[in-house]
């Protein structure tokens, strides 16, 4: 497996590295802590209240507590097994409308990954978002574009899983990225990885699509 940085240097291409969505990491920590706290409280309740009550109450409370703790433990396992995902773009420029770019996804597991059955799927999504609605309710978000991304190559060396993804930004189907005070248009690349022996996991990368047409689109239009 050729190192992507060296490969890009050899081809004279600058490399832009985009790390995993910090928001995902934050949500994972919140999820782990919240489910663990709820599970522990439910177990305590089951032991304190349920022991003196009817058996079905004890069983119900205990069952819910068990499931909650199991979810927390699974989230911890996902957290521990997979390292931080990385996405390499072969340019320091933002993506453009009509662009067709091969990006490289890389994820390091903490341990060997069996290469025979690694499956990677990816989707490109665009969303419109209003931040802080007028009635002080939470932000609202609407997905306006969702398309599968071609996975052109998957490679596993030791504990590193790597995949090339062909990202095609539509010309008209969705607006480019926009960041205003109360409104936002954002793009996300979501990579779903399934590998035997390790938990399934999603990585989300925030991409920026500039309000310009890709060079290849201009060439095709001129032709």
């Amino acid at each position: 497996m050729e190192d992507y940085e060296q490969e890009s240097e050899r081809r004279g291409l600058p490399v832009q590295t985009v790390l995993g969505d910090e928001g995902d990491r934050h949500r994972a920590i919140v999820s782990i802590v919240a489910t663990a706290v709820v599970g522990v409280v439910l177990v305590a309740l089951a032991l304190i209240i349920g022991a003196d009550g009817p058996w079905w109450f004890f069983a119900l409370l205990g069952g819910v507590a068990f499931v909650t703790v199991a979810i927390a433990a699974w989230n911890v396992r996902v957290w521990v097994v997979w390292g931080n995902p990385q996405l390499f773009l072969p340019s320091s420029q933002d993506l453009a409308l009509g662009d067709r770019v091969t990006v490289r996804f890389r994820r390091r597991a903490r341990g060997a990954v069996k290469p025979d059955a690694v499956q990677i799927r990816a989707r490109l999504r665009c969303y419109e978002e209003a931040l802080g609605a007028a009635d002080d309710t939470d932000q609202s978000e609407v997905e306006v574009f969702d398309s599968p991304v071609e996975v052109s190559r998957v490679d596993v060396v030791g504990s590193v899983v790597e995949a090339d993804l062909v990202v095609e930004v539509p010309l008209f189907a969705a607006p480019p990225s926009m960041e205003l005070t109360r409104h936002r248009v954002g793009w996300r690349l979501i990579v779903m990885i399934e590998a035997p022996g390790v938990p399934d996991d999603d990585s989300t990368f925030a991409l920026i699509v500039a309000p310009r047409l890709a060079d290849r689109t201009l060439v095709e239009a001129a032709a």
Partner: protein, 126 residues
């Protein structure tokens, strides 16, 4: 006192300029702090963002002006939740009054010809 605002074109690209002319009647003198500004307005979910794209500009002795369009946009669009519209305004910066406003469409850089094709629709079958 309402000036007449002529634009050389009502579609502009990100990173380009919107060019036009402000015409005042012979009897009306423009307010001393009148200027032209390019403004975009985003709406969605009951919220509004109104922003000047750049500092207001003055016209020359022939009434000509040129407003830069930011390279970062946003472009004009009507989405499922959010819509963005642009306008060129002649405004009295002293009172804040908008004297005249003309809508413009902002398209992605390099997209003028494609957008014009798209707006025209498919060629008619004869």
């Amino acid at each position: 006192m309402t000036p007449i605002l002529h634009l050389d074109g009502d579609v502009g690209e990100c990173g380009d300029t919107i060019v036009g002319t402000v015409v005042w009647s012979d009897t009306d003198a423009p307010p001393p702090r009148a200027a032209v500004r390019l403004r975009h307005r985003a709406e969605g979910a009951g919220l509004v963002d109104e922003t000047d794209a750049a500092d207001p500009v003055r016209w020359d002795e022939r009434g000509r002006f040129s407003c830069p369009v930011p390279a970062v946009g946003p472009i004009s669009f009507v989405g499922r939740l959010v819509s963005v519209s642009w306008s060129v305004e002649v405004v009295d910066l002293g009172s804040g009054a908008v004297l005249v406003s003309v809508p413009v469409t902002i398209v992605p850089a390099g997209g003028l010809a494609l957008w014009a094709q798209r707006a025209a629709g498919p060629p008619a079958v004869t």
